[in-house]
């Protein structure tokens, strides 16, 4: 009997507690959840889930790893940096080079000397100080200064006379950058390189404020003083980044949004979009069928646009068995890309033919890939110096976990069925992967390349010129080298692009890379968001956007 009393007592305690919890929850729900408290109490309006402000654009985002234009290498950080900073020139939404702080420029007849005429009405967004030619010399020299540890200075500024000396600590300044007066800047490069201007659209060449950096070398990027269309208003690691318009922005169109809030906290992006918490969301392969369905209401908010990326299979051209081009061709021809695209990838991306993705200057639809030809593939394998008897073949992938993607599964199946070759898969953690790709440790690997600036040089020269540091396939073809050198200094763009087309044709046949798919960014955009588009490259896009709500 007494045991029963104890049980009743226990039950009563639990009951009261559960009721209390439900009660508190109900109160919180009734209050709409707006009230915050504790250390994270914050203005509910500015929280990711809070009510939106008129004219606010709410985006999913990643934490920027840095907001220093000289240090950025990753796309997510660059997305913020191009909105906060600017340079001499910039890309518009069609990836055309447009004046930014330089209002015009002239190039000397020998193609070496660029004279930029700067606008006199550009100021830094936070301090209001006017930007002059001296600021540009300072900013580029700061990027080249070895103490800055810029990973990108040699790629984007290395063409300027004297820049490499400064990067290697052999000079105190970049001799090729001269300040003529406040609004005139003269830059001399080491050879006539038509793609040089395109490189200046990358953040490494952006202008930063010396006064601010001198004052607080460590922390200045917490309130970056740039010249971009937006200013940083708040950045809470892992929670949100808030941008507000720079009222003094000089170029047209000027920003139209009241504010831009990036939710960095993650969670299911599509759910947040459907629930009206964000205005834009990427769509993954698992949701694509549903979104493509015409009866689905989200279908009307769906846009698909190519990105300037190519995913590819790469071979180590010095290691057996891929030192024989016939083996490489056989492996390429044994893959039915169209079928993978249709069945596995649900047509989210197009199959790749050449190396350059559509949208890239010099992209040419006449360039065809090796094609799917199992019979020829088998024959090539027999004709190769291995005569069909291959050593162990390993495909290395970057990534963790047990599951290799269905795309890779499909390729393995196709090699087995069409060539009779069992390819082993090795998965390597990202950190290890990139290091070992650079060291030439793998036989065959799958990777993608995203353009940094819209010029074919950015794909073809850096990956396939025999002495390029990023030539990880160790491809070495004197004919290709000769053409690439020729293209570097050809000043007639049409002729230059023809040379690149020729290079691409050779490369596709020689199959150091087997281009697999071009990139695409399926996206949902709320109907009240106007002017948004994906661009393939990171460009300051937000100034074209307005929100009618």
């Amino acid at each position: 009997m007494n045991e029963k009393k104890l049980l009743i007592g226990l039950g009563a305690v639990v009951g009261v507690l559960v009721l209390a919890v439900i009660g508190v929850t109900a109160v919180v729900i009734a209050r709409g959840g707006g009230g915050g408290s504790g250390s994270n109490a914050s203005d509910p309006k500015s929280s990711a889930a809070g009510p939106r402000v008129q004219g606010e654009l709410r985006l999913p985002g990643d934490d920027p790893l840095t907001l220093d234009p000289a240090l950025v290498t990753d796309v997510s950080s660059a997305t913020y940096i191009v909105e906060l900073f600017g340079g001499l020139v910039m890309l518009d939404k069609d990836l055309k080079i447009q004046p930014d702080i330089a209002k015009e420029w002239t190039i000397s007849p020998d193609g070496l000397k660029y004279t930029f005429k700067l606008r006199d009405d550009v100021t830094f967004s936070q301090s209001g100080r006017r930007v002059t030619a001296t600021d540009f010399k300072y900013s580029m020299e700061r990027a080249a200064n070895p103490q800055t540890d810029s990973p990108t200075a040699d790629t984007y500024l290395g063409d300027i006379v004297g820049a490499k000396d400064m990067i290697r600590n052999r000079a105190k300044e970049i001799s090729g950058i001269k300040v003529i007066d406040d609004t005139t800047l003269e830059i001399t490069i080491d050879a006539p390189k038509p793609y040089f201007l395109a490189k200046l659209t990358y953040p490494t060449a952006f202008v930063v404020n010396k006064d601010q950096i001198d004052k607080d070398r460590r922390n200045w990027t917490r309130k970056p003083d740039g010249t971009g269309p937006f200013k940083l208003s708040e950045w809470k690691i892992g929670e949100r980044v808030v941008l507000v318009p720079n009222e003094k922005y000089h170029a047209d169109p000027k920003p139209n949004l009241k504010r831009v809030t990036y939710n960095l906290a993650g969670g299911s992006v599509l759910t947040q979009y459907e629930n009206g918490e964000i205005d834009l969301a990427g769509v993954g392969v698992n949701d694509i069928d549903r979104i493509r369905d015409k009866s689905e209401k989200l279908n009307k908010e769906f846009i698909e646009k190519p990105e300037l990326t190519t995913s590819y299979l790469a071979f180590n051209t010095r290691q057996p068995p891929f030192d024989d081009p016939k083996v490489r061709q056989a492996f390429g021809m044994a893959i039915d890309k169209q079928r993978i695209v249709d069945v596995v990838l649900k047509k989210i991306v197009p199959p790749a033919e050449g190396i350059l993705p559509p949208g890239m200057p010099s992209y040419n639809t006449a360039i065809k890939g090796l094609g799917f030809d199992p019979a020829r593939a088998k024959q090539l394998l027999q004709e190769s110096k291995y005569q069909g008897r291959l050593p162990r073949v390993v495909l290395t992938l970057s990534g963790q976990g047990q599951n290799v993607g269905p795309t890779v599964e499909a390729m393995l199946e196709m090699w087995k069925a069409n060539l009779g070759v069992e390819v082993e898969v090795e998965q390597v953690e990202t950190a290890t992967f990139f290091q070992d790709v650079n060291r030439g440790k793998y036989q065959m690997w799958e990777l993608g390349w995203a353009a940094d600036y819209p010029d074919p040089e950015n794909f073809l020269d850096i990956h396939f010129f025999s002495e390029s540091r990023q030539n990880s396939t160790q491809y070495n073809n004197p004919e290709v080298d000769k053409l690439l050198l020729q293209a570097r200094t050809e000043r007639d763009n049409e002729k230059r692009f023809q040379i690149y087309n020729q290079v691409e044709r050779i490369l596709v046949q020689d199959a150091a890379w087997v281009p697999l798919f071009y990139g695409s960014a399926p996206l949902l955009v709320k109907p009240y968001v106007k002017g948004f588009q994906t661009t393939g490259l990171v460009v300051p896009i937000l100034r074209y956007v307005s929100v009618e709500k």
Binding site: E3, A265, A431
Partner: protein
């Protein structure tokens, strides 16, 4: 209680070699794991020559023991260093706000798990032999067998998308609606475990001779349960509490990822895959220190709960 102070001092001294081993092992594991923060950060976009120059200037090319001593020198002065991944950010300014978020997120489920789990376990143990016990046990088994990653999309679908009661994501402090689903998922995951532990230890104690003696000497059943059985089962429970307290610190990766909560679990995950050496060192060290302290407290509590245990 006379022996308490020397006992505590002895235990704290014994913690020093443990911390040394933990720090050295973690440090070495990080440094010897392939790849490094610079390679991860630049992701194949930067020439190997530049990567090498940056490694050099960050001191990553120095011998590992030298790097270790340099790190520990700073650590002992209370300087946790700078994040390699989030350039220009102090480790302490990244981890402490996130640890605070995780702690808040886990504190309610922690209490709920015990408030629901303990009575349920007691009830179940006392009802052994009748239908209630297997019924409760099977339900508990079912609830704890459904993984977090299944709960999250299910709950989100029902409460967020269909019923539209709650915003999906974000962290607006502990007193907001967006915390309800995470708390629910975390509680479901742990109260069943608590109930099972309580039930088993109760049943074990109930079979002991002294319980029979207690009954035999004519004590009322409720007295036997509360004074003898419960008290003796508390030992096991105290152990479990320390273990689950640890989740307050370690965070809960899947819940944080699924609901978009900026907690420490996610940061730790990213720090390890991004080779953010100093960040995961700091987390490991803080974790090790709090674990040692918690165990010390537990040992002291033992002597209070069970007078048979002496300081030794």
């Amino acid at each position: 209680m006379s022996g308490a102070l020397p006992f505590i001092i002895r235990r704290l001294l014994a913690a020093i070699p443990v911390l040394f081993l933990v720090s050295a092992a973690t440090f070495a594991l990080g440094r010897f794991a392939p790849g490094d923060p610079v390679t991860v950060r630049t992701g194949g976009k930067v020439s190997p020559e530049r990567v090498e120059a940056i490694r050099e200037s960050l001191g990553l090319n120095d011998p590992v023991p030298v790097q270790y001593l340099r790190y520990m020198g700073k650590f002992l002065r209370g300087d946790f260093g700078e994040s390699y991944r989030r350039q220009g950010r102090e480790v302490s300014e990244i981890i402490f706000p996130k640890m605070w978020v995780s702690a808040q997120l886990n504190v309610i489920p922690f209490f709920l798990a015990y408030l629901i789990g303990v009575p349920l376990g007691i009830y179940s143990a006392l009802k052994r032999g009748s239908w209630q016990d297997p019924a409760i046990t099977s339900i508990l088994l079912f609830l704890s067998a459904v993984p977090t990653v299944v709960w999250i999309p299910m709950l989100v679908y029902v409460f967020v998308l269909r019923l539209d009661l709650i915003p999906t994501v974000g962290w607006n402090g502990i007193f907001s609606t967006s915390i309800i689903l995470p708390i629910f998922v975390l509680t479901i995951g742990s109260f069943a475990g608590v109930a099972r532990v309580v039930r088993i230890s109760m049943i074990q104690v109930m079979g002991e001779d002294f319980i029979r003696t207690a009954h035999a000497k004519g004590l009322r059943s409720s007295t036997v349960v509360s004074r003898h059985i419960l008290r003796n089962s508390l030992l096991v429970l105290a152990n479990g509490i320390i273990a689950s307290l640890f989740s307050l610190y370690a965070g809960s990766l899947f819940v944080e990822l699924g609901f978009g909560i900026p907690g420490i679990g996610r940061e730790m995950f990213e720090a390890i895959s991004g080779r953010d050496y100093d960040l995961f060192m700091a987390l490991t060290m803080i974790g090790a220190i709090s674990f040692i302290l918690a165990n010390l407290v537990l040992d002291i509590i033992y002597t209070i709960i069970d007078p048979r245990i002496r300081y030794a």
